[in-house]
């Protein structure tokens, strides 16, 4: 058994992938090959694991990352409107990155800040109790930033 009596962490593919992801914000394709060699795990399995977990991305994200929460409390408080504003006012589709590489927008199942619903996360910072005005302001700031 490979885990007996030791530090699980260094042996776990997911922990390694998490570390790569923390560094690059995605898993570059060539790293999958390296990993496969180094960990002696088949490429297909690594690909399988990456695509199974929503936390792993295969495409390079934008400079800023927005994650819109679509959990129950946010749903009840009309979180779909936030994605609509991004699409209608700024032409950004969920799961995509803008052409200038400035912003990626993702939806996530729940970020656990339900009392602040509807809520989104901008580069790891929680922005809660969203209104149309607040979303517009945040997005404008993102686009003005160089």
């Amino acid at each position: 058994m490979e885990f007996e009596g030791i530090n699980f962490k260094d042996q776990s593919l997911i922990s390694v992938l998490n570390q790569i992801h923390a560094k690059y914000n995605y898993i570059p394709e060539e790293m999958m090959f390296d990993l496969s060699d180094r960990l002696k795990i088949s490429l297909s399995k690594i690909y399988g694991v990456i695509t199974f977990y929503t936390g792993f991305k295969l495409e390079k994200p934008g400079k800023h990352i927005i994650r819109v929460c679509t959990g129950t409390a946010c749903y009840v408080n009309h979180s779909e409107v936030i994605l609509e504003i991004m699409r209608d006012e700024f032409g950004i589709e969920e799961g995509k990155t803008t052409e200038d590489g400035k912003l990626s927008v993702d939806r996530v199942a729940c970020i656990g800040a339900c009392a602040l619903a509807p809520v989104m996360e901008l580069d790891g910072q929680m922005v809660g109790k969203l209104t149309k005005k607040k979303v517009m302001r945040v997005l404008r700031e993102v686009f003005e930033d160089d």
């Binding site: 058994m1 129950t72 749903y75 009392a115």
Partner: protein
């Protein structure tokens, strides 16, 4: 010496807690931090010598410093309903906080503050008694798994302890994936040592030397605080070799998840830890017999571990006393949705849903109560006339819901119950691991049927098929998540069948499903502010001006709801 404690939970930080803390410091006042107080909707929160100040703005700080700190007079206009002691506030008064005992009261990053609250005292005593006596205490306390299933914790531990193996594992399940729930996050952020202490006790009881905390990577602050707590505990000799000068050795590792709801299921979690896709495995063998690396593994939820450290400190009798004859101790809920005060609450088992929603949660924010949903995607939707149901594992199952891990979302009459059920089914479609057909294909078909209903393409047969398919999934899916996935459909079909029938006739009274309603402005309520007109993206769909009155031209309206969301008076009504 005045003590100023500022909540540094995720909710309060995003509401601007840092700015408040800085302002106090600028004015020469020392500030201590704490974890979540639970009342996240009132953030940022400061507790000044036991007095609760919520919804703070930077300019309020000066007033608090001048009047309260320097002159000893609480600032009445910043108090909540003139309450000077925060325990007296209705939101807190009806709560019994065992698991959340320290949340909001101590600095989670300072081990001394935990120790001052009798932290690790229980561990010291536990290590002097026999492991079998520890299991006996937990069994007698009546503690049941607070992750949702309600399996007796003592029994699980007994099974684990009886396994002959020199290597065993104990795991904290902090993969809180239920949408609309944040109990585990708040505990790990607010009082990480209570969980670590419980885990060490569990390791001692079943004979494990290795503990593991499996936590979602969506919770970076929780991860940071657990890491610090583990390091501090090690430094003080509560972790590592020969803990507190006994022969017992115990280590804890953190394992971060990668965003998969199904990994909250025990066997899927074990798969994930070993670096596999998180797919559930057939049970038995149960993890307590054959788990991680085929070794006996005890997995309990964050709340359960924190309860363990409380029980071992205060004695099983104290825990057993709380609650009713079927369920002992407390239950934690994250109370959210269209309620006045959302946040994290802990109540004795047996309290009614009505007390929770109307006394603690303060009732509806606006709108009329429609339903409360408990247990997330595995749970059910409970109507108004069932609100006298006491909180408990069996009582909630009896009415078609579950206790679940603690999500409690209240909806009002602006939510369509079918759209709501579809929200959960869509979630299950996204999160199904794909291993078994009933869940993978079944939930997908359920979503399609619900879609037919909300787009007006359904008839009586659709409802029959919906029911039939739901039971098929319930009876044949592999894991707990699959078998409970149809619950949101079944419970809404049971209690809100009229609403399903109305949809078959093209009527959505909530005004959610497109093409099934029209809207108009209630002229009696309207104050002619014109905000609806400015919010409307369609040229000419709202006519009129501020001098006369506004009118919605339904032929031009695209039902985008922009006006309804924008209206400050809620005077745009749904008509059929």
């Amino acid at each position: 010496m005045t003590e100023v404690r500022i909540c540094k939970g995720t909710g309060c930080i995003s509401s601007g807690a840092e700015k408040i803390a800085n302002e106090f410091e600028n004015l020469g006042i020392e500030v201590k931090q704490s974890g979540c107080h639970g009342l996240c909707s009132k953030g940022p929160i400061a507790i000044v010598d036991g007095v609760f100040y919520g919804d703070l703005k930077v300019k309020d700080v000066k007033l608090i410093v001048e009047d309260h700190i320097k002159n000893g007079k609480p600032v009445d206009k910043l108090l909540w309903d003139h309450y000077t002691k925060f325990e007296e506030i209705p939101f807190y008064k009806k709560q019994t906080r065992l698991i959340l005992r320290n949340c909001g009261l101590i600095d989670p990053e300072n081990i001394d503050e935990y120790i001052n609250k009798d932290g690790y005292k229980g561990l010291r005593e536990t290590l002097t008694i026999k492991p079998s006596d520890v299991i006996d205490s937990i069994t007698r306390s009546g503690l049941r798994g607070l992750g949702g299933a309600g399996f007796p914790t003592g029994l699980k531990w007994k099974i684990g302890s009886e396994q002959k193996s020199n290597i065993k594992y104990v795991i904290v399940n902090a993969d809180e994936g239920d949408p609309g729930a944040f109990m585990d996050r708040a505990i790990l952020e607010g009082d990480p040592h209570s969980v670590i202490e419980g885990l060490i006790m569990g390791g001692y009881a079943i004979g494990a030397t290795q503990g593991l905390i499996y936590v979602r990577q969506e919770y970076p602050l929780a991860i940071k605080r657990i890491k610090k707590a583990i390091d501090d505990a090690k430094e003080r000799g509560f972790l590592g070799s020969n803990i507190l000068d006994t022969d017992f050795c115990f280590e804890i590792e953190i394992h971060e998840g990668a965003g998969a709801f199904v990994c909250g299921e025990e066997t899927a979690m074990i798969q994930s830890i070993t670096g596999e896709r998180g797919t559930p495995q057939l049970k038995p063998p149960y993890p307590a017999v054959k788990g991680l690396s085929s070794k006996p593994t005890i997995i309990n939820n964050v709340k359960t571990w924190s309860a363990v450290s409380w029980i071992m400190l205060h004695g099983w009798e104290e825990f057993f006393k709380i609650g009713n004859e079927n369920c002992h101790g407390t239950a934690i809920f994250s109370l959210t949705g269209k309620i006045k005060y959302s946040g994290l609450i802990e109540v004795p088992m047996g309290m009614t849903l009505r007390e929770i929603i109307f006394d603690i949660g303060g009732g509806m924010e606006k709108g009329k109560f429609k339903a409360v949903q408990t247990g997330g995607p595995s749970g059910g939707t409970i109507p108004f006339d069932m609100l006298d149901t006491p909180v408990g594992f069996e009582s909630m199952a009896k009415i078609g819901s579950i206790m679940g891990s603690g999500g409690m979302v209240v909806i009002d009459d602006s939510s369509c119950i079918i759209d709501f059920a579809k929200f959960f089914i869509d979630f299950c479609v996204d999160e199904s691991c794909g291993k078994c057909i009933p869940c993978r294909e079944g939930t997908f078909q359920l979503a399609k049927l619900l879609d037919q209903i909300i787009t007006g393409k359904a008839n009586e047969d659709t409802l029959k098929l919906l029911e039939e398919l739901s039971f098929a999934i319930k009876n044949t899916a592999l894991c707990g998540l699959g078998t409970t996935a149809p619950n949101p459909v079944l419970s809404t079909l049971k209690y809100y069948r009229t609403e399903y029938i109305e949809h078959l006739h093209g009527i959505c009274k909530a005004g959610v499903c497109k093409g099934m309603y029209t809207i108009q402005i209630n002229q009696d309520l309207c104050n002619q502010c014109g905000i609806c007109q400015r919010g409307c993206p369609e040229e000419g769909a709202i006519t009129g001006d501020r001098k006369t009155s506004f009118l919605i031209i339904n032929d031009l309206c695209t039902e985008c709801n922009a006006c309804r969301l924008a209206c400050p008076k809620q005077c745009i009504e749904v008509v059929q």
